[in-house]
Symmetry: C2
Subunit: 202 residues, 2 copies
DNA sequence: AGCAGATTGGACTGTGCAGTCCAGAGGGTT
DNA sequence: AACCCTCTGGACTGCACAGTCCAATCTGCT
């Protein structure tokens, strides 16, 4: 995290370049469908660089990609993500999410897709990815908790369950968006999720 | 489909045995994480049998597994799936879905997981899997269409969008159920989806 | 300048995997 | 019995891939 003494500026730059390009490749072809040689070719680097910056090989690279994608996707939801305690913020968030995924060359959620793929082949990496998803879902829950505290949600509402439900709609919508090659499912899913949320209004 | 003249009874049995065992392996470890040797070992068959019954190799086997899993998962939703035109039927369906996935040794949706994994590495197979998902979603839409016709849903409701939203909740709930190793997300997602559906009541 | 460590190139290794092939056993039809 | 087609066993091939290694170059520091 903070022990960055290992690389020079140039090195850190190269490392970042590798992660970013590799992230796109993995997003398009999946973890299993992307080889180190693909990444090597896509970044104009050599095998030794890959293992210089990621001594643990593909595993470590995959973990770095997951962090990078998580950061990117959370960033796309700012500033709404941090202030999901009004109805307006939720609407804004919904629009930001749709706009972000609509703009991506390849549809589908980088995080959810990786989690789903890795869970069967590399549970440890899958757990790391799942942690990013938890963090993400946590923002939703935090907003809902504040909404209940401020009386926007009825006292009996369960922020944890609601956050899970909304997050599930998001992930499922993205899954369908990917398989159907259309943004429609995501939009329908989020609209329905917010409708369900409104049903918990005070 | 109907041209079953290729195999004897014994052969068809062996083939079915392979598909069923392979389906479990793939469900647990993913397509990319399951090798033909794993399947060979798990079914006590030989390499030549695999290619005898699936001349196109792993691709054909994967397609067969997808069909098998689709059939199995649709079957678990009967009889509700065919009569989703009352509120009671939707409640029953919800319970049947949860009960089915709760009883599975490995959580997660066999179909959705395969679709997500294959889309990056084998688009043709992914399209086949997506077709199964469309069929599935079609049952939901058909029920909603009848509900609108009988006046249970308001005339302005869009059965297609609602079906997509509910199906997305289901798939997303299963994705989270898989990563979080708990049935809770699925239950929360389906409850919210049905709440949103009720909001469209006439 | 000269050293040490960071950085890079690319050939090489070992293995795990899908797919091939052939020889042989089983079983049913005449 | 003789025949043929289905079914089965398992060795073998070829390749793709993750990971290793060493030598060369660059960069910052003194």
């Amino acid at each position: 995290m903070s022990t960055t003494a290992k690389f020079t500026v140039k090195g850190a730059l190269t490392r970042a370049r590798i992660v970013e390009a590799a992230a796109d490749l993995v997003l398009a072809r999946g973890v299993g469908g992307t080889t180190l040689d693909d990444i090597r070719a896509g970044t104009a680097t050599s095998k030794s660089q890959l293992f210089h910056y990621f001594p643990d090989g593909k595993r470590e690279l995959v973990a770095a990609i997951a962090s990078f994608q998580a950061e990117r996707v959370l960033q796309a939801q700012r500033p709404f993500l941090d202030t999901l305690d009004t109805w307006e913020a939720w609407e804004g968030w919904r629009d930001a999410v749709i706009a972000h995924y609509e703009s991506q060359p390849h549809w589908g959620c980088p995080i959810g897709t990786m989690a789903s793929e890795l869970i069967g082949s590399d549970p440890e990496r899958a757990a790391e990815v799942a942690a990013h998803m938890d963090r993400w879902c946590g923002y939703l829950r935090a907003g809902l908790t504040r909404m209940r505290a401020t009386g926007l949600l009825r006292p009996g509402a369960d922020p944890g369950e609601l956050a899970l439900a909304i997050f599930a709609s998001l992930q499922g919508g993205l899954l369908l968006t990917q398989t159907m090659r259309s943004i429609k499912p995501l939009r329908a899913a989020l609209d329905a999720a917010l409708t369900a949320l409104r049903a918990e209004a005070a």
